[in-house]
């Protein structure tokens, strides 16, 4: 508590915005601190800015030290396979494994918090570094190596980073806008880096331990993907039961690395492959089949995890069977297709032609259909000689064209059947009322059924014009010729 008050006083003159820090700290491992800092923003700022211990509490917790001690003991004792008759949950080793899993997740979160801390401190010195080196552990190592150095040619980053990244870092460092840090800040930063590295080391230890016990915990899963990957999967999922509850598509994604540094090609990055990428099966499949193989392995490993979670097959035979299945399937995919047999020609006219129908065909046929004009020209009135193009019976006959009396040979264009259908639909849509109608609108729809008939002014002209309607039996038609006697 005294520590707190001192840091409050010391940080009164420090002015920097730590908004993201606040959010991080709220989710951190400081349950007993939360009551004090609730609602007091200044305190929060002061807290996390200076003091590393307030940032990362994990290493001080009892839980952490207990588990680490147990893990180290177990690693030293070697494999201690207790008889498998005991139900899994009662076995203390299994409990340890479960704890290890949750601990590894916690350590990861802790590392992220520390990374933020280091990043914020180091921003004054070298702001661009955080965008060049994404991985928290790599970042911590680089920060530790560089320290307060201004000239990066004196710093040897070999082995910490790939050479391309080293080059980019050196170039950026030469033009950086940062200034060297004051020694106490530097001290704190280095401490934080050390803390991050120790956490990482302990996480590795935990994972190694889990891996060595993998064959006992989940024999089927490790038979398919190998113990290292199985341990990682279990660790990320948060336990064997949670892994078993996941659908296979999620298992496929577990452990994907998302960030690609700017300037590096994304052509080689494979999408949606996580820890499965590190399995032996995946590495040995040809690139064309990699995606299918990944899905297959994820599916079978999910099944194996489910078998393991209920201890259905302690010997691991099921896992080995799945592995064999996977291997066979991948081999089958690589088989060349069967050779093509030369087939004799089919008997002529034995297969009836497939007639197509539908709107598209009807529209196409419309273009070649007989037009109304031609229909009219083909018919003749009884007792009336038809006119012809050259006059007097020579040339092409005009039939009923131009018989309407106005002397024109033109015919008004009637609607084609398709257009009629479309127009009808459109009319229905228009006249049906929408959702909210005002009280003054009438609910009568103007359909012929209701008896309200709007007279089409074009009807007269259309009567004889449309060759499709029979004018002989027409109800609206009149006498076409009345002889006066």
């Amino acid at each position: 508590m005294a520590n707190l008050e001192d840091s409050f006083l010391a940080d009164l003159e420090d002015l920097s915005d730590n908004d993201d820090q606040n959010l991080d700290e709220a989710g951190g491992d400081e349950e007993h601190m939360e009551d004090d800092v609730n609602g007091d923003l200044a305190d929060m700022e002061a807290l996390n800015y200076d003091d590393l211990d307030s940032v990362s509490k994990l290493q001080k917790t009892q839980r952490y030290t207990d588990i680490m001690k147990k893990v180290e003991d177990a690693l030293e004792n070697g494999s201690n396979m207790s008889n498998q008759g005991i139900v899994l949950e009662d076995d203390p080793e299994y409990q340890l494994i479960v704890d290890c899993n949750t601990l590894s997740v916690d350590i990861e979160n802790e590392i992220v918090i520390i990374h933020n801390f280091i990043r914020d401190k180091y921003r004054l010195k070298f702001p661009e570094l955080e965008s060049l080196v994404h991985h928290p552990i790599d970042y911590a190592r680089v920060v530790k190596k560089i320290g307060n150095e201004v000239d990066l040619t004196l710093v040897d980053l070999e082995g910490l980073l790939p050479s391309a990244v080293i080059m980019v870092v050196s170039v950026t460092a030469s033009t950086t806008s940062g200034k060297p840090l004051p020694p106490d800040v530097l001290q704190k930063t280095i401490e934080a880096c050390d803390r991050a590295l120790t956490l990482d080391a302990s996480k590795k230890k935990v994972l190694d331990f889990v891996e060595s016990r993998m064959g006992y915990i989940a024999p089927n899963l490790s038979a398919i993907v190998g113990s290292a990957v199985a341990a990682k999967l279990m660790g990320t999922a948060g336990g064997l039961t949670s892994l078993a509850k996941m659908p296979a598509c999620n298992v496929q994604i577990l452990g994907t690395k998302k960030k690609n540094l700017a300037g590096f090609s994304t052509a080689t990055s494979q999408f949606r492959v996580g820890y499965i990428e590190q399995t032996e099966v995946f590495q040995t499949t040809p690139p064309a089949l990699k995606m299918r193989a990944c899905r297959l392995v994820a599916a079978k490993s999910t099944l194996a995890a489910r078998v393991d979670s209920i201890r259905g097959d302690p010997s691991g035979n099921q896992g080995r069977a799945y592995r064999e299945e996977i291997r066979k399937k991948i081999e089958k995919w690589q088989e060349p297709p069967p050779a093509k047999q030369p087939k004799p020609l089919p008997v002529p006219d034995s297969e009836p032609k497939k007639k197509r129908g539908g709107r598209r065909l009807r529209k196409m046929k419309e273009r070649y259909a007989i037009t109304d004009m031609r229909k009219l020209a083909n018919r003749m009135q009884f007792g009336v000689p038809e006119e012809s193009s050259l006059g007097d019976g020579l040339g092409e006959g005009y039939g009923m064209l131009g018989q309407a009396g106005n002397g024109k040979l033109r015919v008004s264009v009637g609607q084609s059947k398709l257009a009629a259908k479309v127009a009808k639909k459109f009319k229905d849509k228009q006249y049906s009322s929408g959702g909210a109608t005002s009280g003054l609108t009438s609910s009568l729809a103007f359909t012929p059924v209701q008896g309200i008939d709007l007279i089409d002014p074009q009807a007269d002209a259309n009567r004889l014009g449309s060759g499709t309607q029979s004018t002989y039996f027409s109800e609206t038609g009149t006498f076409s010729k009345i002889k006066r006697t």
């Binding site: 030369p342 004799p344 020609l345 089919p346 008997v347 002529p348 006219d349």
Partner: protein, 151 residues
Amino acid sequence: MSYLLKTLTNKDDVDCIIRDTIDKLLVLRFGRSSDSVCLQLDDILAKSEQDVSKFATIALVDVDSEEIQVYVNYFDITLIPSTVFFFNAHHMKMDSGSADHTKWVGAFHRKQDFIDVVEEIFRGAMKGKLIVNCPLPPERIPKFQLLYKDV
């Protein structure tokens, strides 16, 4: 003579094959193995035998054997090679623009030509026609003159 196709030398063989080919077109080539045009035709027949196997059977008849002379006289075969078509023991005729409709004289320019001819004759036969028109354009029909025979 092509070793891939059935070769007939006896009259009985020819009778049998004409009788026994049911619902398939029978292609009988009359010729001899020494003639170059004959060999050309044989080559095309051999290559397309598998393709038309669902609706046609091909056989070769040696025109030099004694028993076959009956057929030679019956079909009036003077030019080598000559091909005669049968369907269900009916003799199928084809109008290819030449003087003689009862047989096809000469070789084919391409394998596809032969297959076209066979298909056309088959279609006509299935419809019940005894004479069909040749689907090939005149430039691909081997020309010959009957005048020679009259002389």
